[in-house]
């Protein structure tokens, strides 16, 4: 995890909030560093993590995790981390007996499917253990990422329904957290993606948006991070819950600074 990002969000592994949906989105840049941050954050916070990883392999996240001080292999072996490797297990959909529903069963369906099998998998994974084992702090669902589900043939409403049911099971019933990444194409041409992104934004308590610089690529400033705090049901006395910082990604950390204040520019 990146300590500077923890400071900006005012959280520590000991004081993580519960029952929240955090939306990570990126526009014209790669926001996957945020996924790595939250993965290592919640593992260090002693939470049980269900990671639906549809984009990269396990070894990729493991290598980055080791740079950030967590071992995904050890976490998986002791049961703290349940890792659904989308790239590998999607092939199993076609070679398994059809009687057993696979979490990615929608890949097999000809018409527009839904994500109920994936939701059942998440709910089963994060259900509380009642055999007296070491209790984890709170369940966390991490998804990387949701936009690829649109490319795989699902509709935006199906993905929103999946997140809705996960909110019921994880955030409401078990007081856990959900962190999901979605991409923003930015040009307004992908209507389904816009519905997905806006629908998720309305349900979120915290939105972290990584954007590329408007002026183009820069060696010393990799992008801009906008942080928006939301309270979807409670009135806020003063709506100053939005901050913008610029960042630079280094080998093992990310440094944040106010706009225009990069050490390389001063």
């Amino acid at each position: 995890m990146f300590p500077e990002l923890n400071n900006l969000l005012n959280i520590t592994p000991d004081r993580a909030e519960q029952g929240k949906l955090t939306l990570l989105c990126d526009a014209k840049t790669d926001g996957s560093f945020l996924v790595h941050h939250f993965l290592s954050f919640y593992l260090k916070a002693n939470c049980k993590v269900c990671f639906v990883a549809l984009i990269q392999s396990f070894s990729h996240y493991n290598i980055v995790g080791q740079k950030l001080g967590v071992s995904l292999t050890a976490a998986r072996e002791c049961g703290q981390l349940v890792f659904l490797e989308g790239l590998k297990s999607s092939v199993d959909v076609f070679f398994r007996a059809q009687a057993e529903p696979h979490p990615l069963q929608f890949l097999r369906e000809a018409d527009a499917g839904n994500l109920q099998p994936l939701y059942e998998f998440v709910r089963e994974t994060l259900k509380p253990m009642d055999d007296g084992q070491a209790a984890w702090r709170c369940p966390v669902l991490l998804v990387d990422d949701l936009s690829v589900l649109l490319s795989l043939g699902l509709g935006a409403v199906a993905v929103l329904d999946f997140i809705h049911y996960c909110r019921v099971a994880v955030c409401w019933e078990r007081k856990g957290n959900i962190v999901a990444l979605a991409h923003d194409s930015g040009d307004g041409e992908d209507k389904e993606n816009d519905i997905l992104l806006n629908g998720l934004s309305h349900q979120s308590h915290l939105i972290l948006r990584a954007e590329g610089l408007a002026t183009g690529f820069c060696r010393d400033v990799h992008g801009q991070l906008r942080i928006l705090w939301r309270t979807p049901s409670q009135p806020t006395a003063q709506r100053d819950g939005s901050l913008t910082y610029q960042y630079k990604i280094q080998d093992k950390s990310v440094s944040f600074f106010a706009k225009g204040m990069s050490p390389a520019v001063l």
């Binding site: 409401w172 629908g199 309305h202 939301r230 979807p232 049901s233 409670q234 006395a237 100053d240």
Partner: protein, 299 residues
């Protein structure tokens, strides 16, 4: 803002990601409940606990929550889902036969529009709004108010236009400088639509605090989260002067500054100082022609 609840019929609350509308919906629900009305809430997006949070028990006793949040699509197979799914729940609201004025809050209309055909939603809204004119005509017309929360960015112009045409009042939320505002468009029968902008804030107990106008200060507040950043903290050169350097700098006379000493020096020619010598060593390639080239000019 009083006109929002006075007119009855369908009230659309149009919000956005930045300016959320659920707290205004809850404030209007509280106002209706305080008038002694029963309020039915079709909750699709948040849990019952979350919706009731912040209300006093006297308000909560008047709220009837129809839970479409927990299992709207009957995935759980536990039998807790509302019968008929979302459409059944919406149509069940149309068949209310309780006497007395009541309010229906739809949280949210956007959720219904994403899961049901637009035509079905519009027909149900029509049926809800016109419920007071019952066949038989023996009972007097009971006002039914429908508050619908709508997330503007999720729908195309067709659906938004259709809902707009059904609504008696439209409240569009926006704001500036941390202060929320509501643009209210009221359509009274046989009158021109009335526009009004109201700045407001919602207190923690969900009462409405109406403000007269936009916030007075035009400069943005210094952000309490970010400490003021010192740009000279990381430079590689020295920007500061020591005391001696400052004194030397202050006592320096600039070459082109015309002071009285300079004026005196120019007026009083000092001997030996006005002349200057040029020492010139010609080399082999120099062409020293002593003749003045202007000699042949007849000037």
């Amino acid at each position: 803002m009083e006109s929002v609840l006075a007119l009855g019929g369908l009230v659309l609350l149009r919000d956005s990601v930045e300016w959320e509308g659920r707290s205004l919906l809850k404030a209007l629900v509280k106002k209706s409940a305080l008038c002694g009305e029963q309020v039915h809430i079709l909750g699709c997006e948040v849990s019952e606990d979350e919706f009731r949070e912040g209300f006093e028990s006297s308000i909560n006793s008047r709220l009837i929550y129809h839970d479409l949040f927990r299992d709207p699509l009957s995935w759980s197979r536990t039998g807790e889902a509302l019968p008929g799914g979302p459409l059944g729940a919406l149509q069940a609201m149309c068949r209310r036969t309780d006497p007395g004025p009541f309010t229906i809050a739809l949280d949210s209309l956007s959720w219904l529009l994403l899961h049901l055909p637009c035509t079905a939603v519009c027909q149900a809204l029509c049926a809800l709004s016109h419920q007071h004119s019952r066949p038989g005509g023996s009972c007097p017309a009971e006002p039914v108010r429908v508050l619908g929360l709508l997330h503007e960015e999720l729908h195309g112009p067709g659906a938004l236009g259709a809902l707009s045409s059904l609504a008696q009042t439209e409240v569009t939320l926006s704001g500036a400088m941390g202060q929320a505002s509501a643009h209210i468009l009221s359509r009274r029968p046989r009158q021109r639509p009335a526009h009004q902008t109201q700045w407001f804030s919602i207190l923690p107990d969900f009462s409405l605090d109406l403000q007269g106008g936009p916030p007075l200060e035009s400069q943005p507040h210094p952000d309490p989260h970010t400490p003021p950043v010192d740009p000279t903290a990381h430079v590689t050169f020295n920007l500061h002067l020591s005391k001696k350097e400052k004194e030397a700098k202050d006592s320096l006379t600039l070459p082109f500054q015309f002071s009285s000493e300079k004026q005196q020096a120019l007026l009083r020619p000092r001997p030996g100082q006005a002349t200057s010598h040029i020492f010139y060593e010609p080399d082999a390639y120099d062409d020293l022609d002593q003749e003045d080239p202007d000699d042949d000019l007849d000037v």
